[in-house]
Symmetry: C2
Subunit: 294 residues, 2 copies
Amino acid sequence: MHILITGAAGMIGRKLTERLGKDGALAGKPIEKVRLLDVLAPPKPENTKAKVETVAADLATPGEAAKAIAGRPDTIFHLAGVVSGEAEVDFDKGYRVNLDGTRALLEAIRAIGDGYRPRLVFTSSIAVFGAPFPPSIPDDFHLTPLTSYGTQKAIGEALLADYTRRGFCDGVGIRLPSVVVRPGKPNKAASGFFSGIIPAGLARDALGPRINLSMPGVCCTVAEQIAALRRIAGDRVAGRIRRAEDALVARIVAGWPERIEARRARALGFKAESSFDEIVRIHIDEDRGGTFVH
Amino acid sequence: MHILITGAAGMIGRKLTERLGKDGALAGKPIEKVRLLDVLAPPKPENTKAKVETVAADLATPGEAAKAIAGRPDTIFHLAGVVSGEAEVDFDKGYRVNLDGTRALLEAIRAIGDGYRPRLVFTSSIAVFGAPFPPSIPDDFHLTPLTSYGTQKAIGEALLADYTRRGFCDGVGIRLPSVVVRPGKPNKAASGFFSGIIPAGLARDALGPRINLSMPGVCCTVAEQIAALRRIAGDRVAGRIRRAEDALVARIVAGWPERIEARRARALGFKAESSFDEIVRIHIDEDRGGTFVH
């Protein structure tokens, strides 16, 4: 098994790399080679027996996508992208990285031809949805993004589905909910996103042609998150939180969905934590060695 | 009022050109200039007082989109595109014309800047939907096209919505149902698609951010169409129909929706014929001078 991870230096890329190193195999096959790609070369992981290459490249630059897949990886995790706020501030950069980069990768795969058909996992986002919403967003709800980032992700999903339908790749798009960023070293906590893909290989038959899946998440308000922190870590820790408004973030988040049904993803084996209390406890256990400053 | 029509040589382009010539005005403003663009120069209409320019150009060719809008048209009808069957057979051409051409037009508009913000009407298609479907497709049903054409139209819609949201243009996407092609000269029958846009100008406030609208249509089977023809034109005319299978067309159409709710479009004033009998009668009256060969 030969794996390529784009955007490997990001939080999810690092967690995924660590998880793959720990597992040593993907979809029942031993991992022999991992290529980690990002605009700046990602750090080499320590815990893997596989041959690791790190590459600094921008997929949107002509020729770079072809070079990135010249080794014909069996599985590609395409995580590379400009985040929501940056794509909204820099229109050109967002389209270049999130749309042109993704399309260049798909085109490079198609150009190889001769039966090459890698599994391609694309991280999309709940930003493909845009307000107003029903109380809970069903799997067949339309995509009306209210950010350029959400638009670029929606287009990436559409391209992935068409290239998969045409037989150029074997794609699956996973719409990540808001990721609670944890400081410190990567850990397995957030790799639950990949739980349906990594152990099972996620059979093509079970997916069908609708390859883009909304992921389950923990639905809670920021006030509920703070309450969970207070329950577990006490008043002094929760008291350190300071409210700082950011108009751009506020406007972007106002158009985001609050509750996702994610029935298909759950049926396919994707899982979320059961409560925000659990997220806080995992953070303390795994990122902070079971303790914290009271 | 200065108008640009891309894809002006196609059936809808010709019917729209004729309709605009007859009306002499759009959204209450007299039409002074019409630029008709297609890959082969469209014919000049006879019924207009406006200054007409015909242009042979391919919007996907670098620089052509900028030239096409150099006169800063107030309203652009972007009808240009490769049709469903051709986009399925020629993958590169479909993406080049339907995706790159549309994006080039949007980018050319954005590049002008200085407050230029034309009304941009984009003809999309019900091919943005893909089976399996509910009995009737609601306005908030997700887009899961099963053709490259449908994918390209879905991406065009997403780009149009984002460029509109960012203030670069004032877009509206109209998803046309299957268009019953009539032979002979253009006539007003099919221009019902434009009825909501042409007289009212379709206020931006009524549209909101969800600018892509599924159009109402007459829902019927081919057998019902033949029955309507038999009722109106008799057994001998209906008896001339020969069944000829086409595997590509059959596969494409199998993934198309059968019934569209189109509540938003109806509320905004878009109308369809009330029955297929009416479509047959209009065809006889307007394309065949009220008679036909029995």
